[in-house]
């Protein structure tokens, strides 16, 4: 309920602003114009109806994740997560300009959903049981895997996670990949920073021997500097990325899954991938099927 009130307030504020400011004459018509026809398509009282009526959605995403959610100098976040959010918003009848992207980092995704600060989270958000206890997941919309990045030429001869024994292995503090190394490969010497870019730089300086996280993130670094880094290319975990929504919104979850399935069917899913992550990851994946289901 609180989320609704905030969204409504924000929408009202946006309309008021649009009414006052002369420059934003496109915002007001698009908000009211696009929301009304599709709002009728949803059942009264459903979460979709609420969002469609508000004509606005707040999406939590990463702002520092190349290929998935990266906020550039122009202030517009871009990446595969952003495209997925746009697909869902479009289906709700919400214009791209009416999506508000809020930065969520690994540590605040659950609190933001629980407190209603965001309507959904699309932020390379790995589905796992612990998280599933406090939030709900639609999807998965992508299947990543943890991989290893090493210096060009692989001087330490690391072929997989078992070769990390005694090697300085870098990841991000409080992340799932770090947790995986701690529990499954404790013989690796784990070094943790707050961002993956620091890990990458430490690898470039020779201060660490390897960087480990999801392959999609590492691919971005190889793309930036192929003369310095190389990817082992043998993912050793399955990281299904889901769309986080507050608990108890089963209908909304089903709606998202249907939207994803339609996007796969129509080719929009593939296009979204090719225009973002696909610039580095050559094989465009299909939507992982079947969805895991929204029943608790």
């Amino acid at each position: 309920m609180r989320a609704l009130r905030i969204t409504t307030l924000a929408a009202a504020a946006a309309l008021a602003l649009a009414a006052c400011g002369g420059g934003s004459d496109t915002a007001a018509p698009s908000a009211s114009g696009s929301a009304s026809p599709s709002a009728a398509a949803f059942a009264d009282g459903s979460r979709m109806k609420e969002l469609a009526d508000a004509g606005k959605i707040i999406v939590g995403t990463k702002f520092d994740q190349p290929l998935f959610g990266l906020k550039g100098l122009d202030g517009q976040p871009e990446g595969f997560d952003i495209e997925i959010a746009k697909l869902i918003a479009k289906k709700l009848g919400i214009a791209e300009d009416d999506i508000e992207f809020v930065e969520t980092v690994s540590a605040n995704r659950e609190p933001f959903l629980q407190q209603g600060k965001v309507d959904m989270v699309v932020a390379t958000y790995t589905i796992n049981d612990k998280r599933d206890e406090v939030v709900d997941f639609a999807g998965p919309y992508f299947e990543a895997g943890q991989d290893i990045l090493v210096a060009k030429g692989n001087p330490k001869d690391i072929k997989g996670p078992d070769d990390l024994t005694g090697k300085k292995t870098c990841s991000v503090s409080g992340s799932t990949p770090a947790s995986t190394i701690q529990t499954k490969y404790p013989q690796a010497e784990l070094v943790l920073f707050d961002t993956y870019t620091k890990c990458r730089d430490a690898l470039g300086n020779g201060q660490v021997d390897a960087v480990t996280t999801d392959n999609v993130i590492l691919s971005g670094y190889v793309d930036q500097a192929p003369e310095k880094y190389e990817l082992i290319g043998k993912p050793f975990t399955e990281e299904p990325y889901g769309i986080g929504i507050p608990e108890g919104q089963e209908e909304f979850c089903d709606f998202i899954n249907e939207t994803l399935a339609e996007a796969q069917e129509s080719g929009d899913y593939g296009k979204a991938f090719e225009s973002t992550a696909g610039e580095v990851i050559k094989d465009t994946p299909d939507l992982p099927t079947p969805p895991r289901g929204c029943d608790k």
Binding site: K130, G174, L192
Partner: protein
Amino acid sequence: MDAVLDNLDVFLEGFTTTVGLTLLAAVGALILGTLIAAMRVSPVPPLRWLGTLYVQAVRNTPLTVVFTLVVFGLPEVDVIVSFYRFAVIALTLYTAAFVAEAVRSGINSVAAGQAEASRSVGMTFSQTLRLVVLPQAFANIVPPLASVFIALLKNTSIAYAFGVFEGTQAMNRLINDNGGDVIVIIAAAALCYLVLALLSAAAFNRLERLVRPA
């Protein structure tokens, strides 16, 4: 709550490192800071300039920037040590500037007649400073030094972003593993810092009574 109680060992490991960083950097900063304060009151102008330059440059730079310069700058000149040592270096360099100013204020609080009397009985500048001025100065600056070192204790948390498993990184690990108890875990970490800070404050209070019998 269970997320905290079941993982007390993780907290313990992390905050032990926090304490270690604080103690090592405190000793380093006390030595370096006193030297810089001595430079700032020395009769040799270039030393004074150097001391002033150091204090102004370091005190007016964010700690995160100092960390970045140390952790990623020193390897550029082939100085590569463990991330723990890098953290101690960064914290020492940063805190020394604040210690230097506290010590300098203490030196200035010692009546000029003390130094004049020492010089007139034939003591050198360094003897005057070591045997007459600094002992009185330190007695006067226990409260401001306490503030500097409590700030240092909290500043060690920046090391979490630079490859050191200390209290804040322990907190982050638990947050990722226990998405449902985020606030409890953060509160527990805050409590750890609070307890450590209160303990250091108590120690400094005791020290203050010891050095100022009046």
